[in-house]
Symmetry: C2
Subunit: 802 residues, 2 copies
């Protein structure tokens, strides 16, 4: 049965392929299927030159057959339209374990052997190709960084379509064919990714062709989209704003004709939409086409195994046929007949090379999907044109003398980054509707939010093309940015600090991609993924507890030290310096945690540059140790902890002027770690020179206090390190009260010093009592009036610093 349903705008039962074309395309598909089964099973005898014996079988059979033949079918047919229409196409393999298909496809077109010469296009190369699959020291069962042409790893599911859209933003000539598994389609991120068509500009962006592959099953369950009625499925896809084309069936000859017909129609539809937008300058949001391929799971595999149906059922998900000493002996023969059903002798020559008449079906050069330069984006990466960040400096005549919004300041810098790179169009800012809330609104002087759904009279900053893309889905934003970076561009994700945990898992996978590609010689480094996190834990006036979580950085530092960086600039000039550095950096994940509310500024631009270059340093202007061994080290990291520490120092200097205090501020968090553990880590000697080996350290930290302990447990003065941070205590309250609730406030910090520095005598005890009384009064005041004590302002950093 083949149906191109009457819902789709193409005529049914056409035969676009001439008989010889049909024969060749089927042979090419058989070759890909043969290579796929070979990867799962064969340790030797790759061309079946001799009868199959147990010695030819891998000792441990791993792999996922189910999705593979359908993807081979798609890849083969995409090759045809690439040639016919001269398309610049990248292939995204969404289904989890489609590795064998993409490996087969890129091997047949020649790119695999070009990047891995040892996997040559001959019998020995085939042997190695088969052996390496799901084998120690070999390749995994997903398409991934090792796979030529891939910008997407098929491990954790759900991000293929967002990656595909990210790739085509600002790439008007690119077409990404994105295969989406019907299992993957059940995930939340994929379910909302369909809406990306409301954010694509058909004139200045490229196009995505989603290919929803309905093979009906996940590991052991059916899939939802394969088990709703065809009418519901059609409504759903049209409701998402697409025009679906259907190719359904299992008879290869008919399916080849249907697929060729549908793909021609789909590509012509895409080209017509682009013509309409670019030449006719029609601004209407198009209904882009998508393809639904309904084919049996494990198509062309064993119909039955041990009397149970296999092809077309969940049993075809992984290795359909056990072949081992424990398995029924007949399985070996069944495997041989399965392999021979692809007629390898008609596909490969005596040397084991694909026959020329078949090899000719593949596109040429960089048109081959495995060789598309967009899929190795570092090749295309051009540095950003950056204005001098010092031009945006806040003038700070003395520490604490002026207030400014840190993100508001960096927003002006980002505005000009957008403007300077508007010609290459290679910089975008992504976020879930928080760019204004995060005080980055200056960028809207230079660009708009890209939006291609309907508009209304009172909308602001919307346009069909723009450098800011906002949708209320952190998953979508992260996936878009990743796709944008992986294809050789630059970008920034701005988000509320607490809710960036939504993409913890996506960060994981991107970090793993970066780590792995560092080890792959032919992969080029890409621009860093930059997170600007604001609306932080300490400033949640109307949001409260749900919006308080500084733990993303805990999550990040578990990834490989070679690719993660964490910065907590204490003021606007430091944020400018760090942002400039991050936008120039390559192949990292940079996390910047910064304040958005107006707050005291500490460092001049020159001082900020020096401080950020070192990443950590003594603030001599706030210290009273005068270059001597201090009595106590007061360290701080993050904007609010810095403010509270400086206020605490003020109190101490007023009441105990003889106390030798050293103030250390940390911008680059991973300076705290040992140099043997992180490239930014301080040597023990340098660390000890700052923190001393045995003096008390009172460390006020932006996040969970244990993170500092985790980074410093093996330093000499670990026993003297006392860290204050967020203790998971929060509610609707004032900014100052938040610090009191978590004992990070100036009063607690002073008391921590008093508890740790010996010989302070009566004056220490007196001061402690004074502060305890103030805390009690504060609590009563908060309870009664809901406001901080007016007099706490007296304690804030002021004239002392000047």
């Amino acid at each position: 049965m083949v149906t191109t349903t009457d819902l789709a705008p193409t005529p049914a039962f056409a035969t676009p392929l001439a008989p010889e074309d049909l024969r060749l395309i089927d042979a090419y598909w058989r070759a890909a299927n043969y290579l796929s089964v070979g990867q799962m099973y064969l340790y030797d005898n790759p061309l079946l030159r001799e009868p199959l014996t147990p010695a030819h079988i891998k000792p441990l059979l791993l792999g996922h057959w189910g999705t593979t033949p359908g993807q081979n079918f798609i890849y083969t047919h995409l090759n045809r339209v690439i040639g016919k229409y001269d398309l610049d196409m990248v292939y995204v393999c969404g289904p989890g374990h489609g590795g064998p298909a993409v490996v087969a496809g890129t091997y047949l077109e020649g790119t695999y052997s070009e990047v891995y010469p040892i996997i040559s296009q001959d019998e020995e190369g085939l042997r190695r190709l088969f052996r390496q699959f799901s084998f120690p020291g070999g390749i995994s069962s997903h398409a991934g960084p090792q796979t030529p042409g891939s910008i997407h790893e098929g491990g954790e599911l759900g991000y293929s379509l967002s990656h595909a859209f990210g790739a085509v933003f600002d790439n008007p000539d690119l077409l990404v064919a994105c295969v989406i598994g019907d299992g993957e389609a059940e995930t939340g991120p994929l379910a909302t990714a369909w809406h990306a068509n409301k954010f694509l500009d058909p004139a200045t962006d490229g196009a995505v062709l989603p290919i929803l592959h309905l093979n009906g099953y996940k590991i052991s369950n059916p899939t939802v989209l394969a088990r709703i009625t065809p009418e519901e499925l059609d409504q759903l896809l049209r409701g998402y704003g697409w025009t679906p084309y259907y190719v359904e069936g299992d008879e290869p000859a008919l399916m080849h004709q249907a697929m060729a017909q549908a793909l021609d129609a789909v590509v012509e539809n895409i080209l017509a939409i682009q013509h309409n937008a670019r030449i006719q300058t029609d601004p209407t949001r198009p209904r882009w086409p998508l393809l639904v391929l309904r084919s049996p799971k494990g198509w062309t595999g064993p119909k039955e195994v041990d009397g149970q149906a296999n092809e077309g059922t969940f049993r075809a998900h992984q290795v359909p046929l056990a072949v081992s000493a424990d398995a029924p002996p007949a399985h070996l023969a069944q495997l041989e007949s399965w392999l021979r059903s692809y007629r390898p002798e008609e596909l490969f020559d005596a040397a084991g090379r694909l026959l020329p008449e078949l090899a000719e079906l593949a596109p040429r050069g960089n048109r081959r999907m495995g060789a598309n330069p967009h899929a190795n984006g570092g090749q295309l990466l051009r540095p950003l044109q950056l204005p001098d960040f010092a031009d945006y400096a806040v003038q700070v005549p003395a520490p604490g003398a002026v207030e400014a919004s840190d993100t508001g300041t960096v927003g002006q810098f980002l505005r000009d980054v957008v403007a300077r790179n508007s010609a290459p169009r290679n910089f975008r800012i992504f976020g879930p509707d928080e760019t204004l809330s995060n005080k980055l609104g200056s960028v809207f002087e230079a660009t708009d939010r890209q939006w291609n759904a309907a508009t209304a009279p009172h909308d602001e900053f919307l346009a069909t093309s723009g450098s800011v893309v906002e949708m209320l889905s952190e998953h979508q934003c992260e996936g878009w940015l990743e796709g944008y970076l992986l294809t050789g561009r630059h970008g920034l994700f701005n988000s509320y600090e607490a809710f960036i945990h939504i993409v913890d898992s996506m960060f994981n996978q991107h970090a793993k991609w970066l780590k792995t590609t560092l080890e792959i010689p032919w992969r080029r480094n890409i621009a860093s993924l930059n997170y600007l996190l604001t609306s932080t834990v300490w400033r949640q006036d109307h949001n409260g507890f749900t919006h308080q979580d500084p733990g993303f950085i805990d999550h990040v530092v578990n990834k490989k030290a070679s690719i993660v960086r964490v910065y907590l600039p204490p003021d606007a000039n430091c944020l400018l310096s760090v942002m400039d550095h991050c936008l120039r950096s390559r192949h990292y994940v940079n996390v910047l945690v910064a304040a958005k509310h107006p707050a005291p500024q500490w460092l001049s631009m020159d001082a900020a540059i020096m401080h950020c270059t070192q990443g950590i340093g003594i603030w001599t202007w706030a210290s009273s140790d005068a270059g001597q061994e201090p009595d106590v080290v007061m360290a701080c990291c993050g904007d609010v902890p810095t403010l509270e520490t400086l206020a605490a120092v003020s109190i101490l200097r007023e009441h105990l002027p003889e106390l030798k205090i050293r103030v250390i501020n940390v911008v680059d968090l991973l300076r705290l770690q040992r140099s043997t553990e992180h490239p930014h880590g301080l040597s023990d000697a340098d660390y000890d020179a700052l923190f001393t080996r045995n003096k008390p350290v009172v460390f006020a930290f932006h996040g969970y206090p244990w993170l500092v302990h985790r980074l410093t447990y093996n330093r000499a003065n670990n026993p003297h390190m006392h860290v204050r941070g967020y203790q998971e205590e929060g509610t609707i309250t004032t900014a100052f009260d938040m610090t009191v609730l978590n004992e990070l406030d100036r009063f607690h910090l002073v008391m921590d010093v008093l508890d740790r520095v010996p010989r302070l005598g009566n004056r220490g005890a007196h001061l402690k009592q004074l502060l305890q009384d103030k805390l009690v009064a504060h609590k009563q005041y908060i309870y009664r009036y809901g406001q901080d004590m007016p007099e706490i302002r007296d304690w804030e950093w002021g004239s002392e610093a000047q």
Copy 2:
């Protein structure tokens, strides 16, 4: 304009409300709106008895007006149908900041004053009600745990619909009205949550009425669903399997009639579906109704502010009208006229109490949505009927003498937990299609996977009703389980370890809910949320690097110690004991990390019970310190680290029999923390008695090694603690090679001991060389053959232990 579009099956322009009913329902809505504006603005003069002055205004104006009047409208009309049809209804407030609406609704119906008597139903109560909102020490702008009737916190968006479905599973008489914001609807989790209708049994489960509230804007952007064509929206919702009913407009009188008409139709449709399934026993999957309410953002608020349109635009999102010393003075008068537009003098009596004719509109007793017992599920919680877990014990004649699958064993226990609780129907297992893969397949002897989409001949274990619910969305599974627990039932989430990070952020919010409700006297404790994580980092034969991440437990331990527990049982009998404990526990998040592959078993059931009760202990049968001070402590936590540690001990005991080794196994991870930091933490004295104060400790840990350092940095022997764990090194390779790559293998552990124990002399050096040679040989072997050295089996735990 009011349209009940021709797409919906109800006649347009009916007038179900008689004039007097219309007058009353509009007055009730005005009362709710008045209370909402009052919460945002009024510090005093709650009934406008005197002209408004600046002294009556809160010093800091916070809150979100935009969503509120629409939700007041919904709540008011739901009250009407609850009464008319005697419905058992819970209200879920999906839009982020709908707190004022739910607070107003529950205050008007009386439940608010019942749980918070200080917020009385009089003028003083109104003053307090207004003052506490978004005020220090008061309540946040979301519906949340403090809000009567709530099972859903409106902080992080996306989970309302999954929570609603979780609530109605196995609650056949319950109807959850779930308001979904059009911002929230853009999130991934919400976008896939619509598909939950394929998993609901209309006979044995209750019903969810989604109310999609299209008010058009997020913070500063329009929403996607409000800016696609009505046809697309209709296709989308029908494609998701629902029958949409539309209520659209802004003229109150017409909207009341349309809403009453639509809600009657919707409720009757739901009742008819249930009748059809329950009485007619029709197994067809129904197309449940849903309601779309399109009303202006900030409906009934200021039309214009300072010449800019407000009602119906994004500017109505938060506080529409600034009233402060800095704002235009005319704003105060505009606020007063806005407040008076609701005519409070017609709503409240002289004492400030809602007029009786209005109060009568609310449902009675537990039918009031704020008083529904399902929304305080601990009230309804019944203990599980648990079989004796010891009956499922693996017989372990000697440590290491037998192999078994740990999760396979606990699967048999879970099968009987399912069976014993099939009558109360209060236990479910949720997961993303991995119950079989995770070796819990025994449960399918007692139940099926609940599935209400189409079935096919070769499906397995599917039924319209069952205790296992699987969809390939960790978000959906987590949301379902949370909703199920919050309404007083029990459950388990089983997942691959690496991918549980997908719900990091959902875990955060649930953990915050648990922590907060501990502090609310009228909230009752609920059953714990139990995660069973398997397919762990160390056993990923065909998946490789993407599937390797043990960091969820790092994430979990950042939450409040009072509610998180982490267990890593080393074998099947320990897993049985821990699982039984977790299923009996209340109000925790329990994380269980366990092995699924057959592996050596160490402890008899009696020994396992004793070990798990202590949570940490010396394994004397593996130790050679004979109760004396050891030369070295070898600690282990997790199944693979335990195996490698025991193998290392074997090597050491063979080669250096005089070495006094103490073997410690950790089941309950948080025993490592100080007792002052976690309720399960050991005192320093107990910790030192186990680990010594100054002997080297070689700790083989399942997860990232820094987690152990973070937990133990302040213990006396921190300088001597050496931890091996996952270092983010992984690929497709053998199980043993994974440990080598991360230096957790037996050879490295032995070398760690040799490096740390002094005076081992030549024999130590000789052994070290031997092991280094073995590692080199292993690497060569892996490279050449892709298999571990055969002789490594000689090192595995064997006769030495017996």
